[in-house]
Point group: C2
Amino acid sequence: MPVYTGIADLPTLRGFQVGALDAGLYAHFGKPTRPDLTLIASAAPCAAAAVFTTNLVKAAPVLLDQARLAANPSGIRAVLINTASANACTGERGYANAVQSAAWTAAAFGCAEDQVLVMSTGVIGTQLPMPRMQQGIAQLPPQLGSTPNHWQAAAQAIMTTDTKPKLAHSTYNGAALIGIAKGAGMIAPNMATMLSVIATDAQIAPLLLQEMLSRAADQSFNRIVVDGDMSTNDTLLILANGTSGVLIDETNARHFEAALTELCTVLAQAIVRDGEGVTKFITLQISGARSAAEARQIGNAIATSPLVKTAFYGGDPNWGRILAAAGRSGIALDPTRLALWYNDLQLVADGTPLNYDEGRAKLHAQQAEVVVRLDLGAGDAESVIWTCDLSHDYVSINGHYRT
Amino acid sequence: MPVYTGIADLPTLRGFQVGALDAGLYAHFGKPTRPDLTLIASAAPCAAAAVFTTNLVKAAPVLLDQARLAANPSGIRAVLINTASANACTGERGYANAVQSAAWTAAAFGCAEDQVLVMSTGVIGTQLPMPRMQQGIAQLPPQLGSTPNHWQAAAQAIMTTDTKPKLAHSTYNGAALIGIAKGAGMIAPNMATMLSVIATDAQIAPLLLQEMLSRAADQSFNRIVVDGDMSTNDTLLILANGTSGVLIDETNARHFEAALTELCTVLAQAIVRDGEGVTKFITLQISGARSAAEARQIGNAIATSPLVKTAFYGGDPNWGRILAAAGRSGIALDPTRLALWYNDLQLVADGTPLNYDEGRAKLHAQQAEVVVRLDLGAGDAESVIWTCDLSHDYVSINGHYRT
């Protein structure tokens, strides 16, 4: 089940309709106008599962969705997504606004309130502009459709500082999957939140769906690091409406999960590639660890080091910073057993530099995509993290995002 | 015992001599020439204590100094400091080079090898240029002196990406203290390592000296965050040669320790103010915590957040990012009890924004020095972290530091 990106050859996804429009949410905050309100809706009730931010400061839509999914995991019909305001740190009023937005969506689309989920991304601490939300939601139903262009419009309308829409699709045995996602800062994942919705017309029980999604997220979205911040709003949601009649159960779940994992991986990597100010895509392979968890913690320490990330930006094969970041990761390691490669060029063995060709090392470090492998020489476990550099543009984007 | 910075009114510090010169270490690596080798020496053996990096990847000089201080805490006579190469990740050869440098220093200055400590800062993974080290060390003795200009020269010769020398001094009851330090990246503390040497002519037993230094470091150098990286080389060393005859013991240690702590605080804050690309000095006060350790962990999460630091750079009072960073710190907190101030202007109460004046908030955020207070509403404990913004210049400096 290969995964494709973009809308070319988009499979038919039965029973789902999507639509987006400019509800004037950005305009309300004095910013240039753009599509900012999206609806993904299913004719049939969906089994639904989700993975949310572990940040203790959770946005109102996250709290509402968690409650609704717990109460009604088999009956979701619609998800409303707005940009411009994250509806986070907005107190009881913010929660009431999330509930109200869902109620308006239910009325406009024709389903029950508890069948609607909501997602928000944008600035923390701003209340949703409710009159504009109400008006925009009422105008959404006529926008709904299921063509490739409708999915493309949805992928575009959920963007914030993203520069490209992120859309991927796959099929399994007659069932289809379409996923959209947005980044682009606060990934590891904070603001300009990670949001992703995957829709499938396969028929899957909610518990199995949750198990598959959690494992897929762990192999994909949870392995990307842009800046090490973690959003108040991060949400990965899957809706399965069963309309294809293709049943996924223990006999074939493994295959479906493989397709789901690959789709999540493609979307997750697309978020890194389009991270704020990103000029380089770095695959960090941490091998020779005592456990995958330890490998991952070391990978995260490296991927969040400003010194490492600025060296990536400069195309400087500054492996010393990578070893230093590993050394402060909190994981026990033997510095004299470390080995390091840029792509296939080994720079370090036994914790000390080899007599490598600096010009060749620089050529590797200056490529747009670099695989950096650090071997700890301590065991057989390994982990992969996908990350990026820290550029002047990251500082420009985030120094002035809000004001 | 007020602490003064710079060389004006530098007290007489008996029995110490310092000197610096250009040994061509930078030139060896093809960089512009500058003073790069410094000696601080005492006529009498010193009680010595130190605090070193907790990074598991420790530079050769750190390993050597740890061994020498353990074996000979009352007999240190000299410390040799070089820039241009950190002598980290250099294996057995690097360790042998540190030993050899100390041996040459002992021969040149006229003391025993085990009375010499060494410190290095600069690029990780490069071996010391030993012929130049040998020649430079041999030329150091004629440079030694104890005038303010000699101390100023030492403070300048240990700089790497620092833009200003850092020198502070104080007196206690007839004894003097002079401290020098360098930053400027990898502070929390990685490369362009934090190094600091404090010399005093007070007479102090090594154990008491170590206790006082450890506590002083915990209140000063361990509370600064530039980029969250931690060096392979960080070292804070104090030498007490007793030449003043002023005895510090349990009867007056409290007073001496207060002066030492203030001196360390002044040097630590100077490192942040001169951090790589720094345009703003931020005092983070985390109050209302259940414990000081929890307050500190939350402060560190905020101080290392690229999104928070770029907002500081932009002069944007983007408190949402601060709350989000606190929420992912790993410390349990109740988001609905959070309160936040920029200087004396409260922006957040009960986890939600007050109806504050955005223009006033921005004026506060755009000052060169800002006090940000986050109250957790959970207890009576508090902690302070001194940190800075993340600017375009930080990226420029670290994107191209090495190449």
